[in-house]
């Protein structure tokens, strides 16, 4: 098979990108005759969606396939509009070489820089600057050189080292397949011959690494995946990371028979000599060359969701075949596209790029992104909407977590609870301000106390007076408020207590995070369900009045959302029963008594 080169085309709106692609496809004979019938505009070959044809813009990345005598190409055509930058990153993540289009009459634009930066960030090292519409610039050498130099200055600052500038007129095909007579002053290669010859470095120099995608349980256990780097042979000593368990390869199993060796890019199943604990998400590595392992690391993050990043919120991080809960710290900075400056940032909005520390619920095995796209690139997934909200590139692991080990204690949580003749529980009251959470929680605690139970009530207002007095009421602060409350509650559960909390805790994601902190069945979500109108009518603290008067910002139910629980363990309808009856009901449920 002819060698493959994966291309990315990007640029600003109206640079004529679709036309250039249509021209390349056409000139390579990749356009079927039936598609050429009645075709008036080459760009129609690349714009695939109805909305794109109607609006005359590219919305989503299109993958196109063509080839010459020397090489096969997969071209990812990335959209120009800023609002579709995330689609552009999709195209860039798998490309080896980027073709950046610039309109000769308009020069380098913000979008040109943004796309170049994202392409560089995602690991593309080879760039072609295609200065298009040279016909409109009178095929002027000076115009071409001015743009090339302008771009070179930016490229130097952005860390883009290999740039080849080519003047083209996509509409007429000048300098696309062959050198144009209309630009005799240009002595470099035409675009396609350049692409045919371009050298790109794709193979990783790392030793053997293979993320385990699945464990096949047949006559023997097989660990299947695609080799990310290096090679493996029967007899090789390896380790299952991040646990570090040593193992030895017995056989490399395929449907076509066992292999003597398998190298990067090949999908195989490995049989190991002795049984080891290894499951989906683990990374098999050469024994003498372990990867980096950490639960805290610094990463560059491209935010791709409409809702901004919430530092402290738990997202799902997927890297290799591993998915693990993860939290992003407040960004250290975000990148200014125009100036390449590091700007202060509290969060990241759609299409923003920043650098932040991330911590994961368990340690992960990885490599810096610069060394391996496969082992250093990750995505963040919103736990509720299941949407992919960010792409991340790991820079390095933070050493500090290696020095903090969980201390194994002789007296365990269950022994502490056992001494109290109870089981630790977390009763999590949630609901609008004024719904009656604290009132009911108080009554429940009093009843439990009367029964000889050891309890503790963490009240939202009280916590905010001490532990959380540095936090306000923005969405990000609310997330951190609940995270700390959840951690404090967990410590008290470890002490063997039945913990009651009364927090508005408006977001499902944070309640789900706290639920995940404790053992299954120990988290009891109690939804104190009072309609907004009723809570506002009661207005026991006078807060709704203040919020409506505009004196209180980010007030839940007024100008900040409340996401009601979808399946709470207990729901209290305060319109139907009073606080005393509610407390009785909760205690009966907790003590397993008939209600």
């Amino acid at each position: 098979m002819k060698p493959l080169l994966r291309l990315l085309t990007c640029g600003s709106v109206d640079d004529g990108k679709s036309t250039l692609i249509g021209r390349m496809l056409h000139d390579c004979g990749a356009v079927a005759a039936d598609r050429l019938v009645g075709l008036t505009d080459f760009s129609l070959l690349a714009d695939g969606l109805e909305a794109e044809r109607e609006q005359g813009i590219t919305i989503d990345v299109a993958h196109l396939y063509f080839g010459t005598e020397k090489r096969r190409f997969i071209l990812a055509d990335a959209p120009g509009h800023e609002q579709y930058t995330r689609n552009m990153a999709t195209g860039a993540s798998n490309a080896d070489l980027a073709i950046v289009l610039v309109d000769a009459t308009r020069g380098v634009l913000t979008q040109t820089r943004r796309h170049s930066m994202i392409a560089r960030l995602l690991g593309i090292s080879r760039f072609v600057l295609a200065v298009n519409k040279m016909d409109l610039a009178g095929f002027d050498q000076a115009a071409f050189e001015a743009i090339s130099e302008d771009y070179a200055r930016f490229a130097g600052a952005a860390g883009i080292e290999a740039v080849t500038a080519i003047p083209v007129c996509a509409l007429d095909g000048d300098n696309v397949t062959e050198r144009s007579a209309r630009m005799g002053w240009y002595e470099g290669p035409a675009l396609l011959p350049f692409l045919e010859a371009a050298e790109v470095e794709t193979a990783s120099s790392l030793p053997f690494r293979m993320p385990v995608q699945t464990v096949i349980r047949g006559p023997e256990r097989l660990y299947a995946g695609t080799i990310a780097s290096g090679a493996v042979r029967p007899g090789d000593r390896i380790a299952v990371q991040p646990a570090g368990t040593p193992a030895q390869v017995a056989r490399i199993v395929t449907m076509d028979g066992d292999l003597d060796e398998a190298a990067a890019g090949r999908s195989v199943a490995l049989a190991l000599k002795h049984h080891v604990d290894c499951s989906r998400g683990d990374l098999l590595c050469a024994l003498d060359a372990p990867p980096q392992i950490a639960d805290q690391f610094e990463a560059t993050i491209l935010w791709m969701a409409d809702e901004e990043l919430l530092p402290g919120r738990q997202y799902l991080l997927k890297i290799g075949a591993r998915s693990v809960p993860a939290t992003v710290h407040e960004p250290k900075y975000k990148l200014g596209i125009d100036t390449m400056e590091q700007l202060a940032a509290k969060t990241l909005a759609l299409n923003e790029i920043g650098v932040a520390n991330i911590w994961t619920a368990q340690p992960i095995a990885f490599e810096p992104y610069e060394a391996s796209r496969t082992l250093g690139g990750f995505i963040l997934v919103d736990q509720l909407s299941a949407a992919t909200v960010a792409a991340g590139l790991i820079s390095f692991g933070l050493r500090r977590s290696e020095n903090v080990h969980e201390q194994a204690l002789a007296v365990t949580p269950s022994r502490r609870a056992g001494l109290k003749q109870q089981k630790a529980k977390l009763l999590w009251f949630t609901g609008l301000s004024g719904a009656g959470k604290s009132t009911i929680a108080n009554l429940v605690e009093a009843r439990l106390h009367a029964r000889g139970r050891h309890t503790f009530l963490l009240d939202g207002d009280n916590i905010r007076l001490g532990l959380n007095k540095d936090l306000g009421f923005t969405a990000a602060d609310r997330v951190e408020n609940i995270r700390r409350a959840g951690e404090a509650a967990r410590l008290m559960m470890d002490a063997g207590l039945i913990v009651l909390t009364a927090f508005i805790s408006p977001f499902r994601a944070e309640r789900a995070m706290v639920r995940g902190l404790v053992a299954e069945g120990d988290f009891i979500e109690i939804f104190v369900d009072t309609p907004l109108a009723e809570a506002e009518r009661r207005d026991t603290k006078g807060l709704y009045r203040k919020a409506r008067a505009g004196q209180l910002a980010n007030f839940t139910g007024v100008d900040s959302p409340y996401e009601p629980p979808e399946a709470p363990e207990i729901r209290i309808d305060t319109m139907a029963i009073d606080a005393e009856a509610a407390a009785d009901l909760i205690v009966r449920r907790l003590e397993g008594e008939p209600s």
Binding site: M1, A32, A51, D60, A62, A89, T90, L384, A386
Partner: protein, 265 residues
């Protein structure tokens, strides 16, 4: 895994078998039948499913069956909509499948070129091309919000040429319809059809033909060809697009995208 017995299906099934070897792939095969497929494809479908040791679910839309929907009386659009699009939705709902593998490739058609490998469908199986998830590297997001399902296209980055090269390299069995032979044919609406059973009264003419893609036989345009081997098929590849022979794609502008948005594979 959607499985029709066509060449892309055969390649996808083979890849799945290799991936899970020595055990059979841990999911069933699903064929959304219309009653109008080529007899050879039915035989091949059953034989390959049995060879793979996988369960085969065959679904025929009972509503379309009761109404006697067929391509000749009701036209390609309605036939496809009811038998294939609706039939597929019924079958996926009935099996409560979270995800379905399909053999579609991005090089087949322009709206397919924009599709993700993991493509999210709404509760009604609709595709919203403007709200596709970013899909970086080979990190596929297989999580779904309630009601959503996934269509997964493992052959996304393959071309028709890749498919044939793979069929040759792996020595796969594919339908003989892909290779030129003398077959009874008729010309209908400018398309050359291979008469596969006695449900078409027109008198047939024997021609040396083959198909590039197989659907329902009354909707599959054949081409006159002498290509009787894979090498000859590969040599013939350049020139026309593969789906040019699919009559269902021709009905209206943006035909495929509309069908996909409504749940077609």
């Amino acid at each position: 895994m959607l499985f029709s017995g066509g060449k892309d299906s055969c390649v996808m099934l083979h890849l799945a078998r290799k991936a899970f070897f020595p055990v059979p792939p841990p999911f069933p095969l699903l064929h959304v039948d219309t009653g109008w497929k080529f007899a050879e494809l039915y035989r091949l479908r059953d034989a390959l499913a049995a060879e793979a040791g996988m369960a085969l679910i065959v679904h025929r839309n009972p509503d379309a069956e009761a109404r006697g929907i067929n391509p000749f009386d009701h036209g390609a659009t309605l036939h496809t909509e009811l038998w294939k699009t609706e039939g597929l939705k019924q079958a996926l709902d009935a099996g409560r499948f979270d995800a379905a593998f399909g053999g579609a490739r991005r090089d087949e058609e322009m709206s397919r070129a924009k599709e993700r490998v993991f493509s999210v469908r709404s509760g009604g199986h609709g595709w919203d091309p403007k709200r596709q998830r970013p899909e970086l590297w080979t990190l596929y997001n297989g999580r779904r919000a309630p009601g959503e399902s996934l269509r997964i296209f493992p052959l996304s980055n393959w071309t028709e040429r890749d498919v044939w090269s793979y069929v040759a390299a792996e020595g796969l069995t594919v339908a003989s319809l892909y290779f030129a032979a003398e077959r009874p044919t008729v010309v209908r609406d400018g398309h050359l059809l291979i008469v596969d059973d006695d449900r078409l009264a027109d008198s047939a003419v024997v021609r040396r033909v083959r198909v590039r893609t197989v659907g329902c036989w009354p909707l599959t345009g054949a081409v006159e060809s002498a290509a009787a081997t894979i090498d000859a098929v590969l040599a013939e590849l350049d020139g026309t697009s593969e789906r040019a022979g699919r009559l269902i794609d021709r009905d209206q502008a943006a035909s495929m995208e509309r069908k996909k948005r409504h749940g077609y594979f």
